[in-house]
């Protein structure tokens, strides 16, 4: 597990690795002793296989929701601005 995460972290921080061709990337994966199935997934751009193997399950990515206003004095623009400022 850790060597594939280390590899991804190193790749993410390397201008060379992020722009290198598949042959160079394959060499890097071999040098880092990344498991062949996972290496093949990276080379194929197959993130689903990688997640299924290493971090299965649903990951939620929504962190903000709409809250309907509880009160509003009237519909004019000035009171709407005051209302938003109070809630901020």
């Amino acid at each position: 597990m850790s060597n594939i995460i280390d590899f991804l972290a190193r790749m993410g921080a390397s201008a060379t690795m992020r722009t290198s061709g598949k042959a160079d990337l394959a060499n890097e994966l071999t040098a880092c002793d990344v498991e062949p199935t996972l290496a093949a997934a990276i080379l194929a751009g197959d993130d689903a296989t990688l997640r299924d193997r290493l971090a299965p399950g649903k990951f939620f990515g929504i962190q903000l929701d709409q809250e309907e206003p509880e009160e509003q004095e009237d519909g004019d623009e000035e009171s709407s601005v005051r209302f938003a400022q109070r809630r901020a």
Partner: protein, 264 residues
Amino acid sequence: MTEAAPGSLACVGVGMTLGSHLTPLARSHIESADVVFVAVSDGLVEQWVRQMHRDVRSLQAFYADDKPRQATYREMVDAMLAEVRAGRKVCGVFYGHPGVFAQAPHEAIARAREGGYAARMEPGVSSEDCLYADLGIDPGRFGCQHFEATQFMLNRRRVDPSAWLILWQVGIAGDLSGGRFETDPGRLALLVDVLARHYPETHEVVVYRAATLPFQEPRIERMPLADLPRAALGMSDTLAVPPGRALVPDPIVRERLAALGIQT
């Protein structure tokens, strides 16, 4: 001078792409914390954060399908603040920027400060930042409006079609339950109706998703507005609507500015 209580909270962002965007300061907050809470959208990114600290606790466990997301966010805040109140140095790690389209970090920081604890937020590279780079948009050129997609549908916003329009969380557009993590063609058709007040249905729009892994490419899918209901959208997708008309000059202001130039 009153000293803050011993517990503290720092909310940081890891950026969008694993390994690419973490700032030295954010890493330092993570590594020097007593306990780290993590809420990121990709399990591999969570594994990466786990390598930075011995006590990393995932906030994903608070989510569930059909559970009100407001309850999830409250529980996230409560979990972080319980450790702050216990006198521990807490770091909350969020994907992207911890203060952009993220409710729990703002709420946690506000409540920690109300309780007399030191609390701060450190910026991260957001999806918005990646969008500008990947789509080649400079928000200073024509301007750029940003709205949350459901809020945009539920309220009469003043859309400026001469600027870019970015709708976030389009993958849950039209959710009134607060517990869904997907949208559907019916809700997207309604969004198209709202947008059609300002743009022709032939207007090209872009579905965008930043890369979270370094070997991925960002999703950049262009389509006519009318085709949006047939698009497969996920939680991380964003809709970018290019300007649909030219900027409209304001002759009165131009004349007044010109007059000022003559006077000076």
